[in-house]
């Protein structure tokens, strides 16, 4: 049996990508293709009082300038449905396909321009005259839900989209009986996804627009498929959505956008092939972001720093619309207790609209904020009670003997949330040892004597992964003995194909290179749920594992009939079924040929045609991964500049299918989290105009801002799925900002500064230091 699972098999994706033969959406070239751009709102909130595209339509190369009313005949609704399921009721929080009445964020699409080239489309878009009558712009989520506040959209009575309470236990009692209560207000800002490839859509219109083939740089081809079926009222058999190579998703490509509906509708209307490739400025002003959360928190502890209760309020800036059922603040509120025992918990969550780009998942999807808030409070306890920060955590971490740990919080569905496996105390201990936590105080003192400010920080996290209900996996043997895997999971650079190929190849005893994985094509895989929330390895991996096992069993059964020996006498090795201790064998390809059937030839009686199996392994539980990160920083107090000097990251993500790929996910995830701690800020001014709209202003970390990362892995196999895996895609990001900010605060402990925000940019840090110095 060739063992591939657990090996760092070189990626199957790489050969094409390395020689420039990737096929991203902008690489797709169709005949007679026209190019699109959008006229987008330049105002954060305004009524559209005039629209004149006459001159624009007459410009060179321009084929059409389409508004909401032009597309209306093609669409079942003017506004996006909340999810892929068609919704009969108008939902008053989803975006419009094209806006023709009232714009509510800078960047909102107003019209679609179609021309021979993108440059000419942009010329025409600039010439479209839209008259705006300004309306009050809502900028601050904290003020936006106050009674009498101006509304973000006239159709709303209030900017408060939703208010909910998450909690359990006797919170008031816990606080009343506490030895200490510590309070803090924490501001968190996460910013944008900024995959290096922006969004894009290509539509092929066939047979007078009655059939459409759509390529979209998306994480959710099936969502897009079903939404288009509903919105365009199309026969499912006449529509196909294909995910090309995706140059990174990171969350923003998890939503379905107005552009992804408008372009196909226009293609159908005009019966033309269309291409829209988002440019970076469009990405800044219309791809979803995770922006601001304002947390007001109190934590109650006993005299030994054991948590008795935690309560507070979270105000979440949702932006102008809610394109998806709001998940982030709910994730943040329910994930906050993390790996700690919190006997009583109460969080009020207010989801508030503002006149800014709509908010939805960016890598971590609310979990980074939960970890940051919790870890800041743990540090607060330690600092105020003059205890070691690791010790405070150790006292409160869920101990191994309590696993599986049933959280007192229930999922939205009412199901229990259970941390299935993981040893959080041992994880932290191992990380502390690797990072030299005990030695640091002496090093810090020596550095201070030289006038240098160094600090160390710590953060823990858990992440529920492998979200169901399922992900499809089909394994099929080809006539030549090679194997195909079809899955509804979506690849966006995370090595999905390689991992699934390894899983499949191991069961079928073939080489991983002989497995082709086709992901994200709705014609090939009608059912699929897509890539988000660190779910696909667990769900698709399990389905593929079971499907491959089933195909192996079929092969053996078929071979036993054909070779007329018992199944026990057979083994599958190197792609062939062998008689044990003999030299007769049948290749998988030969078996596939037989099982293809031939007219006039008898088909073996108890065999089914075809050498393939489709499985949708189901789950309704999450399997929880855990992480512990330790960061070392140095702060230049004249500049407020933070340098990350060292970073140790521990992860337990169950069984590692491909350790090399896991390492890539972890390191990449941490880099994003460091960006969130020190660099990334999506700014808006007081009129809700975006002020960071290029990569000169919005700062992504480069190779010179990061250290080498030291990673530690523990594999506690998940007992909840056949492959023992847990997800890893977001776990690197989740504790990272918390660890870095913890370290920055520690570096500045001579100034007794409390840092209650992320990012902490140099000038802000400088101001905190100055203020502290002024009072000493």
């Amino acid at each position: 049996m060739n063992r591939l699972v657990g090996k760092s098999v070189p990626r199957l994706e790489d050969p094409a990508l390395l020689v420039g033969k990737g096929r991203y959406v902008d690489d797709i070239h169709l005949s007679d293709m026209l190019h699109c751009t959008f006229v987008r709102s330049t105002m954060a909130h305004a009524a559209i009082t005039g629209f004149d595209a006459e001159f624009a339509r007459s410009m060179q190369g321009v084929h059409a300038v389409l508004t909401a009313s032009d597309l209306a005949p093609m669409l079942m609704s003017k506004r996006m449905p909340l999810s892929a399921a068609p919704s009969k009721e108008e939902n008053s929080s989803t975006p419009f396909v094209l806006q023709d009445r009232e714009v509510s964020y800078v960047g909102e699409p107003v019209a679609l321009v179609i021309a021979d080239s993108r440059a000419e489309a942009e010329d025409a878009a600039a010439a479209v005259q839209v008259e705006y009558e300004p309306l009050p712009a809502v900028v601050d989520a904290r003020k936006a839900y106050e009674p009498g506040a101006e509304v973000v959209r006239s159709e709303l009575n209030s900017n408060l989209l939703n208010k909910l309470h998450v909690g359990y236990g006797e919170v008031d009692e816990a606080f009343a009986g506490a030895a200490h209560v510590f309070a803090d207000d924490i501001w968190q800002h996460r910013g944008c996804g900024h995959s290096i490839e922006t969004r894009g859509v290509v539509v092929e219109s066939r047979f007078d627009g009655s059939e459409l083939c759509i390529w979209s740089s998306t994480q959710m081809p099936h969502d897009l498929f079903y939404m288009l079926v509903a919105m365009l009222d199309m026969d499912e058999n006449r529509l196909r959505v294909i995910t090309p190579d995706v140059g990174g998703g990171f969350g923003p490509k998890y939503c379905i956008y107005p552009e992804e509906i408008a372009i196909p509708a226009a293609a159908r209307l005009l019966n033309r092939n269309l291409k829209w490739i988002e440019d970076r400025r469009e990405y800044f002003m219309s791809a979803v972001q995770e922006r601001d959360q304002y947390w007001t928190l109190e934590i109650a502890v006993d005299a030994d720093a054991r948590i008795l209760g935690l309560r507070g309020r979270l105000v979440h800036d949702q932006g102008a619309y809610a394109p998806k059922a709001v998940n982030l603040p709910y994730n943040s509120a329910t994930a906050m207790t993390g790996p700690y025992i919190v006997p009583a918990y109460g969080m009020d969550v207010l989801i508030v609209h503002t006149n800014k780009v709509p908010v939805s998942s960016v890598r971590g999807a609310g979990y980074p904020q939960a970890a940051f808030a919790m870890e800041r409070m743990m540090d607060l306890i330690a600092v105020r009670m003059d205890l070691d920060r690791a010790e405070v955590r150790r006292r409160n971490l869920i101990p191994p003997e309590k696993m599986p740990y049933v959280k007192q919080l229930k999922a939205r569905s009412g199901a229990a949330m259970i941390y299935d496996s993981g040893d959080y105390i041992a994880s932290q201990a191992e990380t502390l040892a690797a990072a030299g936590w005990e030695d640091f105080p002496a090093r810090q003192k020596a550095a201070l004597a030289e006038g240098r400010y160094i600090g160390i920080g710590l953060a823990n996290a858990v992440k529920g992964t492998g979200r169901g209900p399922f992900e499809s996996g089909t394994v099929r043997v080809s006539q030549n003995g090679k194997v195909s895997v079809f899955t509804g999971a979506t690849a966006m650079g995370q090595g999905l194909a390689t991992a699934l190929a390894q899983i499949c190849a191991e069961e079928l005893s073939v080489a991983a290179e002989d497995v082709t994985v086709i992901a994200g094509d709705t014609a090939v895989t009608p059912l699929g749920l897509g890539g988000f929330a660190s779910r696909q390895l667990v769900t698709a991996g399990s389905s593929v594992h079971l499907a491959a096992k089933s195909v192996a069993a079929k092969a053996i059964k078929a071979a036993s009939r054909l070779m007329e020996v018992d199944e026990d006498a057979l083994k599958l090795e190197e792609g062939r079924v062998w008689i044990r201790d003999g030299n007769r064998s049948l290749g998988l390809g030969e078996l596939a040929q037989v099982l293809r059937g031939a007219p006039g030839f008898a088909f073996p009686a108890d065999l089914e045609p075809g050498l393939s199996t489709s499985i949708q392994w189901k789950t309704d539980a999450l399997t929880y991964a855990n992480a512990c990160h330790i960061a070392e920083v140095e702060v230049d107090i004249d500049l407020g500049e933070v340098t990350v000097a060292r970073y140790v990251a521990f992860h337990d993500s169950g069984r590692l299918i491909n350790p090399m790929i896991v390492e890539g996910q972890v390191v990449g995830g941490i880099a994003h989290g460091i960006g969130n701690a020190l660099f990334e800020f999506m700014g808006y001014d007081e009129t809700a105009q975006p002020v960071t709209t290029t990569f000169q202003e919005y700062l992504l970390v480069t190779a010179t801002e990061l250290p080498n990362f030291e990673t530690i892995y523990r594999e506690t196999p998940s007992g909840l799925n056949p492959i023992g895996a847990k997800g890893i895609g977001e776990a690197g990001t989740i504790p990272a900002a918390a660890a870095v900010v913890s370290a920055v605060e520690n570096a500045l402990s001579p100034f007794r500064i409390r840092i209650s925000q992320t990012p902490i940019l140099p000038e802000r840090l400088f101001n905190l230091i100055q203020a502290a110095r002024a009072t000493t």
Binding site: E122, R280, V701
Partner: protein, 291 residues
């Protein structure tokens, strides 16, 4: 983000380029393109005509003679950075240029383009000011004029140059062999625009006292600035910590702007930090034969 439409000319002779600029009112010079092309792609600018001067050979080149380095306006930043003669006679250029953008932008970006764009944080403009450089400018009918850098820098992103004129070369007076030099800047990431930069050139006499000093600061105001008060103060002194600390106080007299990248107060702290580092390093290097 595609550029707006424009007509494109690519003359091979300097006077042809000047005439093209004179003939077309809304025309712009295309030099390295690292600033201009980005602005065109972002549609911040709408020139009707671009005059590409990349093929005018006489505009590029480095000649070191008689106490000055004459650097052609179209000399690529990367060429200046790696030029052995410049490294020998004006080593501050290499030190500063390593911090300018990234290798890809320095491969195309030019010294003339940087000076004509005059971003307040532009390292080359700061160095030109530091050296009291002279800018040679070509006008119509083969005319040339020379303009001291202090007069060339007219204001925020405003070089003192007519629309039809083209910068031909920058003449950099050289300091004596073994002079002290240092360039420090603080930027958010490697290669980003400096929030504040400090450039120093320094010579010592036989007794180790500062006999000559030039300080130029970039990124903090609308244009790069000299600091004559600190230069005068330190002349004749030895650069003891007390002297340096006093010299830093003069920074409060600088023009300090507050914007998205930093408030005036913050910039003051940053520029003081940069100047302190540059003065210390320039002092250490002055007089060393192998500096």
């Amino acid at each position: 983000m595609k550029p707006p439409p424009f007509e494109y000319f690519c003359p091979t002779a300097l006077n042809e380029a000047v005439e093209l600029l004179a003939a077309h009112e809304n025309s712009k010079v295309l030099a390295g393109g690292q600033s201009l092309m980005a602005m065109l792609n972002l549609r911040y600018l709408f020139p009707d005509v671009l005059v590409d001067i990349n093929r005018i050979d006489e505009l590029a080149g480095i000649a070191v003679a008689s106490g000055a380095a004459r650097i052609g306006a179209m000399t690529r930043q990367r060429v200046i950075e790696t030029n052995g003669e410049i490294a020998r006679v004006a080593p501050i250029f290499r030190e500063a240029l390593k911090l300018v953008g990234h290798r890809q932008t320095r491969n195309r970006g030019t010294i003339g383009g940087s000076l004509c764009h005059l971003d307040p944080a532009a390292e080359l403009a700061t160095l030109a000011l530091l050296h009291d450089a002279v800018v040679e400018i070509a006008g119509r009918d083969g005319t040339r004029r020379r303009l001291g850098i202090h007069d060339f820098i007219a204001g925020f992103m405003m070089p003192n140059i007519e629309a039809h004129e083209i910068v031909v070369a920058i003449e950099v007076p050289l300091w004596s062999a073994g002079h002290g030099y240092a360039f420090h800047e603080f930027a958010r990431r490697h290669g980003d625009f400096a929030i504040a930069s400090a450039a120093c050139l320094l010579e010592k006499d036989g007794d180790g006292a500062i006999s000559r000093l030039s300080i130029a600061l970039g990124g903090i105001g609308s244009i790069p600035q000299r600091l004559p008060a600190a230069e005068e103060f330190l002349l004749g002194k030895r650069g003891e910590p007390g002297d340096l600390a006093s010299a830093l106080e003069f920074c409060a007299g600088l023009e300090l702007i507050g914007d998205f990248h930093g408030s005036a107060e913050y910039r003051l702290s940053v520029v003081r930090s940069m100047l302190r580092k540059s003065l210390e390093l320039a002092l250490a290097r002055a007089g060393r034969r192998d500096a």
